[in-house]
C-alpha cells in the first residue's frame, strides 16, 4: 500500500487519467448527503450505481424505439428488434463469447442459474440431463443462488449434491476438487468471486479439471463482471451467469451465456410466445437459441442499458477499474486488520473488490447503523451465504465493497467510522 499522499493523488487523477471527479459526475446519486454527511456508497457488491450513459440509453429506447420485438413488420418493432440484437452482440463481445457461444437475456444471475439448474433437471422431449445416481458438485463459497437451485435439482432427479469445502482461510483447492470428481459427476458449479468473503478462487483451473472429468461447468460471475469479467473464450465453461446491476447496469437485468451445445440441452423454464417454432392445440416445437430460452416479452430497455454499461466499462478501461478497486480493497483490508478485535475474511485473496470482517463483541447490524449515521453504506448480515459463514466458524459479518467511483478518502472514512462504532459497541 502506498502512503496516503499517493492514494489521495489517485483520487484526483482517477482511473486511466479520466479523473475521478469527472467519473463521479456521471453518477448523480452519489452527490447527496445521508444523515448530514456526504454519501460514501460502499455496498457495490449488492448493487452498483448506474451512470448517466446507461440511464440515457434506456430513456432513448423508451422515448424513440419502444415496441415489441420479433413481431410487427412496422418500423418501431424493427428498431426495437435491432436494438435488442445489438445489445446481445455487444454483451457477447464483452464476455469473450465466440461463434460456439450464445447469450440469453435473464432478469439477473439468480434467474440465469435457475434456468440452468431447472433446464438440466427437468425432462422434456428428452430425459433430464441429470439422472438418478448422478452427482452435482458445488463449492461452499457460493451465494444461495448457486446452491439452492442445485439442492432442488438434486432432489428432483435423485442425484447427490456434493460440496467442495474451502480450507480454514476460506480458499478452494484444485486437489480437493480432484478428490470429489467421479464418472458420475454431471455438473460442477463455482463462483468467480465469493460475495460473502471476497475470496477469488482459482476458477479457471477448477473449471478445466471438472470439464476434463466430463462435467458440465457453471460459473457465477456476478461479483467479477464489474471489474474483472471472465473471458469465456479462454475458459472451460459451459454456462456463465451475471447481473446487470452489479456492473453499473439496470436492476432486474442479466444474462446466461454459454456454449450453444450446452444451452441446447436445457429444457426451457418458460413456455409461451417468442420461444416456439410452430404450435398446434396439443403440441409445440421450440425455436432455436437464443429465443428458445427467452419465452415472453423481454426487458428490451434493460438489455439496451446493460449493453451501455458494458460499453461504459470498456471506455473507462477494464484494467484501470480492476486496479483501482483492488487498491481500495487492499487499503481497507490493511486498515481494518489493524483495528482491535477485527477478524478479516479472505485476507490473502487478490483481485477482489470485497472486504468482509467480523468484530468480537460488536454485531454487524449495530456497526451498519452507526456507519449509516455517518453517511457510509455497507452491507451487514449473512450475505446470502449462511453455510459458508458457519463453515468458517463465523456468524454475520460487515462487508464493504468497492466500485470505480469510490475514493481512498472514502476508505479512510470507513476505517474511522468502524473504529468509532467499535468504541461505542465493545
Amino acid at each position: 500500500m502506498g502512503d496516503m499522499h499517493d492514494l489521495h493523488s489517485v483520487d484526483h487523477a482517477g482511473l486511466g487519467g479520466a479523473g475521478l471527479d469527472n467519473l463521479r459526475a456521471q453518477f448523480p446519486v452519489l452527490a447527496q448527503k445521508i444523515n448530514g454527511a456526504p454519501l460514501a456508497y460502499l455496498d457495490n457488491a449488492a448493487t452498483t450505481q448506474s451512470p448517466l450513459t446507461v440511464q440515457d440509453a434506456q430513456r432513448h429506447f423508451e422515448r424513440h424505439d419502444r415496441a415489441n420485438i420479433h413481431r410487427g413488420v412496422h418500423t418501431l418493432s424493427q428498431r426495437a428488434t435491432d436494438a435488442f440484437d445489438q445489445a446481445r452482440s455487444t454483451l457477447k463481445r464483452f464476455v469473450g463469447a465466440g461463434a460456439a457461444h450464445e447469450l440469453i437475456f435473464t432478469s439477473g444471475t439468480t434467474d440465469a442459474l435457475n434456468l440452468v439448474a431447472h433446464g438440466l433437471s427437468t425432462p422434456g422431449s428428452q430425459p433430464a440431463v441429470i439422472q438418478p445416481g448422478d452427482e452435482i458438485v458445488v463449492s461452499a463459497l457460493e451465494h444461495h443462488a448457486n446452491l439452492v437451485p442445485w439442492q432442488q435439482a438434486a432432489r428432483r432427479c435423485g442425484a447427490q449434491l456434493r460440496i467442495l469445502l474451502p480450507d480454514r482461510q476460506g480458499r478452494l483447492h484444485v486437489e480437493d476438487l480432484a478428490r470429489l470428481l467421479t464418472p458420475r459427476t454431471r455438473v460442477f458449479a463455482v463462483t468467480a468471486c465469493a460475495n460473502a468473503t471476497g475470496e477469488r478462487p482459482p476458477f479457471e483451473a477448477l473449471l478445466a479439471l471438472a470439464a476434463d472429468a466430463g462435467a458440465l461447468t457453471v460459473l457465477d460471475a456476478a461479483q467479477s463482471v464489474g471489474h474483472a469479467v471472465p473471458d469465456l473464450s479462454a475458459l472451460a465453461c459451459d454456462f456463465m451467469a451475471f447481473s446487470g446491476h452489479k456492473m453499473y447496469g439496470p436492476m432486474g437485468t442479466g444474462a446466461l451465456v454459454g456454449r450453444r451445445t450446452a444451452l441446447e440441452r436445457l429444457e426451457p423454464l418458460r413456455y409461451g410466445g417468442d420461444m416456439v417454432a410452430w404450435v398446434s392445440t396439443t403440441e409445440a416445437s421450440f425455436a432455436e437459441l437464443p429465443m428458445r430460452l427467452e419465452g415472453g416479452t423481454p426487458n428490451v430497455a434493460g438489455a439496451v442499458g446493460l449493453a451501455a454499461a458494458a460499453d461504459f466499462i470498456d471506455r473507462t478501461g477494464r484494467s484501470a477499474i480492476d486496479a483501482h478497486v483492488v487498491a481500495l480493497r487492499e487499503h481497507a483490508a490493511a486498515g481494518l486488520a489493524a483495528l482491535p478485535g477485527v477478524q478479516l475474511l479472505s485476507t490473502e485473496t487478490g483481485a477482489s473488490a470485497i472486504v468482509s470482517f467480523a468484530a468480537g463483541g460488536a454485531h454487524p447490524h449495530d456497526i451498519g447503523t452507526l456507519l449509516d449515521e455517518q453517511g457510509i453504506a455497507v452491507r451487514t448480515g449473512h450475505h446470502c451465504a449462511q453455510p459458508l459463514l458457519e463453515h468458517l466458524g463465523l456468524g454475520p459479518t460487515t462487508r464493504a465493497s468497492f466500485a470505480l467511483y469510490n475514493t481512498h478518502a472514502e476508505v479512510e472514512r470507513l476505517l474511522a467510522g468502524v473504529a468509532r462504532a467499535l468504541k461505542v459497541l465493545q
Binding site: N35, D366, T369, E373, H382, G395, P396
Partner: protein, 146 residues
Amino acid sequence: MNQTTAAELDLYQDVVMDHKRAPRHFGTLPAPTHQARGQNPSCGDDLQVTLNVAQDRIEDIRFSGQGCAICIASASMMTEAVHGGDVALAQQLHQRFRAVLTGELEPEAAHLGKLISLAGVRRFPGRIKCALLGWHALMHALDGKP
C-alpha cells in the same frame, strides 16, 4: 466527524449497552413449561426463550442465543419486565412496546418502564425487527400448549 450522532444518543444509550454487555436471565431453564425460538434470517439473529408458567403467571424465564445489541438488550429488559408477572400483562406490554416502535403510540404514554430506552428504535425502521425478536419468541412460547 466528531459530534455525537443520533444513533449514538438514541439507540445505544448506557442502559441499552449495559443490558447488551451483561444480559439478565441469560440461559435456559432445565424443564420449561413453555419455549420457543425466534430467528431473523437476514442477519442470523437467533434467540430461544424458555418459561415456567403456572396459574397464568410467568414464574421464571430465561433467554439465550445471539443477536445485535438492540436484540439482546430488548430481550434482556423483556425478561426483567415480565418475570413474576401475569401472562396477560406480558402480552399487553408487548402490544404497547410494539405500538411505540411502529409509531402508533407515543413512548411517554406507553408505560414501558426501562424499555423506554429502546423507544429510539422507532426512528430506525430497519432495526425494529431486532428489538422485537425476543418478544416474538416469548409470544410464540406463550401461545404454545404447555
